[in-house]
Symmetry: C2
Subunit: 140 residues, 2 copies
């Protein structure tokens, strides 16, 4: 029988530790009044904000600069039906400070996609939530 402990909420520190393990997450936002999602590679800044790099002229930047977005990352293991998911919800903003841009050019993410006129986008860690799925199949 399936147990209720197949699911566990993660605290903020666990969420951030897991986020730091994976290179790709997904920006969740609204585009033309429709829900939209775009996978991007990213880094976690020391203040726990999510930083990604994209083209200044991209649809993504136009859609998310200055608005609240969600950012999701996860990892799943089909064999054990287990895994975790973390969601950061907060305001996204293009990094405009030149010193900050220079710092991120050293330590921030590169993009897996070719980019012209690259900018960094920071997503504030306003709300950080996560859950672990322990594997219903094996929790009997």
């Amino acid at each position: 029988m399936v147990q209720n402990d197949a699911f566990r909420a993660l605290d903020r520190q666990e969420c951030l530790r897991l986020l730091a393990k994976v290179p790709v997450g997904r920006v969740v936002y609204t585009r033309h009044a429709l829900p939209a999602v775009l996978p991007v590679n990213f880094t976690l800044d020391p203040d726990a904000s999510v930083v990604l790099r994209t083209s200044a002229a991209s649809d993504l930047v136009r859609a998310i600069d200055g608005v609240v977005v969600a950012f999701e990352a996860d990892e799943w293991h089909a064999a054990t039906q287990s895994g975790w998911s973390v969601v950061v919800t907060g305001q996204a903003a293009v990094v405009t400070d030149p010193a900050e841009h220079d710092r991120l050019s050293e330590s921030g993410p590169t993009s897996w996609m070719p980019i012209r006129d690259g900018v960094f986008v920071r997503i504030e860690p306003g709300m950080v939530t996560g859950r672990e799925v322990i594997g219903a199949r094996y929790s009997a």
Copy 2:
């Protein structure tokens, strides 16, 4: 130098073939006026709609029944900085037809999470888009 061919749009058939390969995708929707995202396991129905199973009383069902959502699945390989992503955008609706419910109980998805009072939710494949990232690092 990074080439522009590091990115390729996928046609509908390629998108559906890739979607069928992975057990987990992410429902992207709006909750309390904020962008929200929830990973779920799913199956593809023969008509290309995405089918998931969740609790009738869940926040997810309340938020998405009858509205347009996005559903995203992907696969990434960090070593080669490559992978793919597919997004299905369409109306979500709880399956209310008893015969259809019975059919999905046989062939549809099970949930990795414990569920009481389970229902199936179908996401119509109104728009199916995808892209492949071939690996900027190796496209020089």
